[in-house]
Amino acid sequence: MLAFIVRRLLLLVPVLMIVGVIVFTLIHLIPGDPAAIMLGREATLEQKEALRQRLGLNEPILSQFVTWFGNALRLNFGESLFMGMPVTEALRERAEPTGLLTLYALTLAVLIAIPAGVFAAVRANSPLDRLLMVISIGGVAIPSFFFGILLILLFAVVLGWLPSGGYAGIRDDPIQHFKYMLLPSLTLGFSAAGLLARLVRSTMLDVLNDDYVRTAYAKGLRERSVVVLHALRNALIPVLTVIGIALGGMLGGAVVIETVFNIPGMGRLLVQSVTRRDFPVVQGAVMTVAAVQVLVMLLVDVLYVFVDPRIRYGGD
């Protein structure tokens, strides 16, 4: 098991190198001059040239790549052109809002999806099943930015219960923090919950038809025990995989949610950095997201062992 984890962690290095090369190439291939964006449209050519020189953007692209890559290997992603601060610091500042948003959304998604999927499977083809599945299709189908704006209109503008956007750190003011995070977490979690609920339902339906479930019923076990202890545990393997993938999707979804709810997280930083051609931040942020995705998938693989003891890795 340990060898498996170490092997997977070592795999992170080539993955990140490939991601880094692709991102560097792509971001430098698209047109757009950071100096022009920073100085505004009325800036003179001389001013832009001076800023380009100062930012090191006039260096040959190969030389820029070698410098950046050498630093990236030491986890130094350079300095943001736009914010004038180290990229790692900028990412660290924004990791908390994005990390917590994803965590809350995932928790909400799981808390909604698993009971909904199980109920729908156990009462398959009943009106409850149909209702739950209609809602879950809604979760998948409604664009999250639209759902987010609807929630803002209802809870912030009409009812005035929750703020329409913004962020407070969990350590600074926990109550405000949860007020700010409730609507975005619900928005992000709802769409993931729709997908998960449908998956839980279909895998549960498969499992509920297995022989061992019939045997469990024949032994006289109560329905709750059969469903929760026998069926659900076996249905969780594909669900875990999808949760892992959904987490990656949520990091992508956070880009939209953070913009709608004005949360200063990594997703919004990434979009803004692309718009303002802040190359070092784009590179650093994409590599961070890639690393998180790889680590999450590793975690999912490790969790398989706990969910299904039959699974073994390597020489275990």
């Binding site: 757009g32 964006i37 100085l39 003179t44 736009f82 956007g165 913004g166």
Partner: protein
């Protein structure tokens, strides 16, 4: 040296015009620099510029004069939703709208603009100009503290000027004339010029990328590098507290502020800091800004598009005020290369376009007006010259001009970005109208960064859409004063007219030059003027003392305003 102090009828500045009949050196205006004028006559009631113009709304400009009485309520935090957060608040280096909005609450300039857009002193006591117009002596107000406790002195002004002049477009305009700037005594600086520059005080006034005054130690330490957070020290009524990237910028009242005691008037006069704090929050998403205003989280929006105004119109907690025009749309043509370097083809474009449709598409009914003037109507420079060539809507004439020019149907590359919806809609309407007149038009839509880069290469584009924003004086407008602005309008006739605008001391003579510039605009057709776009202020009903008192064209200052709890 003989000094003569004279009260310019249009300003409160003491000025001495250069000797009449003095032969001026012919000078090409190069760079994006601009020069302004001292004298700007009082503004009358706001009205459409042309008799032919069709106003789509009607209102009068507010008087913009405050009361002397101290009537506001102290306290509270004003929350302003901005469209983004600039890289820094260093207005010397970067000309951006949000920096202008935040910065002038903290910083002050030697001069500013009053309710009538006349240039008046702020940190300066006044200016005296020598008989030959070459020596400009600026006396400073005494006892004005910086936020760090030091008193503002001449050395600080000289250091600020020396840092600002080489890096800002306004400063670059002065350096063409500048011999030196010296500290005469602790409260007097002297700007010595190689030739007279009547516009000097306007160039030194409060505006985007204007000369804000900071302590000499900070200016010398920063040099050409952007100011760090601890360097945001000025003399303004609010002081910098904290800035967190993409989260907020916080200012608080500067209790030791020493301002002028005259009644508030536009950006001039007494500046009472009633608010405890001002927080600028970047909210790039338009819908989020509007929802935040409705929910009471923001008190003022930096920008709102007309579509969203409809959402707010019936909300009793929100005030929407239609303001005098803050810009006008233009279709810019590349006079330097390609098809549009042919004046006849440019005239065909001018003949083909009908601007009211463009106004409807870009701003909607009630938020624009027609008018041929290349200066906005709230200035004394508004003119109807060549009005017959504005809004021609004559595709037959355009087709004839195209035939005369031997146009072979080569597609015209019209560049725009959807990041500015107004510019994009204007481009779409222009494309349809030009195609109806016989042009082949290829609309190329990119993001703004790509657009900016494409516009830098003359070979990559023929036309683009943009807006010319309000300036109180024609030579403060880069496309007029500069030869390097997009499209590179730089004919010898235009350069000569601009030189007259920069150096003539008499307003009538300068106004005649402006009318000549407008004639050239319609004759040489470097751009097509679309419609004047009304400004819109969207603010919470709790904000008192701002509307009707403050200008919004060069962004408002949150002085003399307060929050009233409902």
């Amino acid at each position: 040296m003989n000094w003569r102090q004279q009260q310019d009828p249009a300003t409160t500045i003491l000025v001495k015009p250069p000797r009449l009949g003095r032969k001026l050196t012919r000078r090409t205006v190069v760079g994006a620099g601009a020069a302004g004028a001292v004298g700007i006559a009082a503004v009358g009631p706001f009205a459409p510029a042309s008799a032919d113009a069709v106003p789509t709304g009607s209102f009068r400009a507010p008087a913009l004069r405050g009361q002397a009485a101290d009537e506001g309520v102290r306290g509270g935090r004003l929350r302003v939703a901005t469209t983004g957060q600039p890289a820094s608040l260093d207005g010397h280096l970067v000309g951006q709208r949000t920096i202008t909005l935040i910065g002038w609450n903290m910083f002050e300039a030697l001069f500013t603009f009053d309710a009538d857009y006349a240039t008046v002193p702020m940190l300066a006591e006044g200016i005296e100009v020598s008989d030959d117009g070459l020596t400009n002596r600026i006396a400073l107000r005494q006892g004005v503290p910086f936020h760090n406790g030091d008193e503002m002195r001449a050395a600080d002004v000289v250091a600020s000027f020396n840092r600002w002049a080489p890096v800002s477009s306004l400063g670059l305009a002065i350096t063409q004339f500048l011999e030196e700037i010296v500290e005469v005594d602790p409260y007097t600086v002297e700007i010595r010029l190689a030739s007279p520059l009547v516009a000097l005080p306007s160039l030194l006034a409060r505006q985007q990328q204007g000369l804000s005054i900071h302590p000499a130690s900070i200016m010398e330490a920063a040099a050409a590098e952007p100011l760090a957070d601890e360097g945001y020290i000025g003399t303004g009524p609010y002081r910098f507290v904290e800035r967190q990237a993409d989260r907020f910028t916080l200012l608080s009242r500067f209790e030791e502020y020493v301002g002028v005691e005259t009644d508030p008037s536009g950006y001039a006069g007494r500046k009472a800091a009633y608010l405890d704090e001002i927080e600028f929050i970047p909210v790039p998403e338009e819908a989020a800004r509007v929802a935040g205003l409705q929910a009471g989280e923001y008190h003022y929006l930096e920008e709102i598009i007309p579509d969203q105004i409809q959402v707010l119109q019936d909300d009793p907690n929100v005030t929407i005020e239609i303001l005098p025009p803050r810009s006008y749309g233009v279709v810019i043509m590349n006079t330097a290369a390609g098809l549009m370097s042919d004046q006849t083809i440019r005239q065909a474009v001018l003949a083909a376009l009908e601007v009211e449709s463009s106004g409807q598409a870009t701003h909607g009914e009630g938020y624009f007006e027609l008018g041929p003037g290349i200066m906005l109507p709230q200035t004394a420079w508004s003119s109807d010259v060549s009005a017959e060539l504005y809004n021609q809507n004559n595709p037959e004439k355009a087709a004839q001009l195209l035939a005369d020019a031997g146009y072979d149907g080569t597609p015209i590359r019209l560049l725009c970005t959807q990041e500015d919806l107004g510019d994009y809609n204007a481009a779409v309407v222009a494309q349809q109208q030009l195609e109806a007149a016989g042009f082949a038009v290829a609309l190329e839509v990119t993001d703004e960064a790509t657009l900016d880069e494409n516009l830098e290469d003359d070979e990559r584009w023929d036309m683009t859409t943009n807006a010319i924003v309000f300036r109180p004086d024609p030579v403060l407008i880069a496309p007029f004063a500069s030869c390097t602005f997009d499209g590179q309008w730089c004919s010898p006739e235009k350069v000569a007219v601009v030189e007259r605008l920069q150096t003539e001391s008499d307003f009538e003579a300068r106004y005649a030059a402006l009318e000549d510039l407008q004639r050239l605009w319609y004759e040489q057709a470097p751009m097509v003027k679309l419609v004047n776009n009304y400004g819109v202020a969207a603010l919470s009903s709790k904000v008192q003392g701002l509307l009707g008192r403050m200008h919004f064209e060069i962004e408002p200052e949150f002085t003399n305003c307060w929050l009233e709890e409902s």
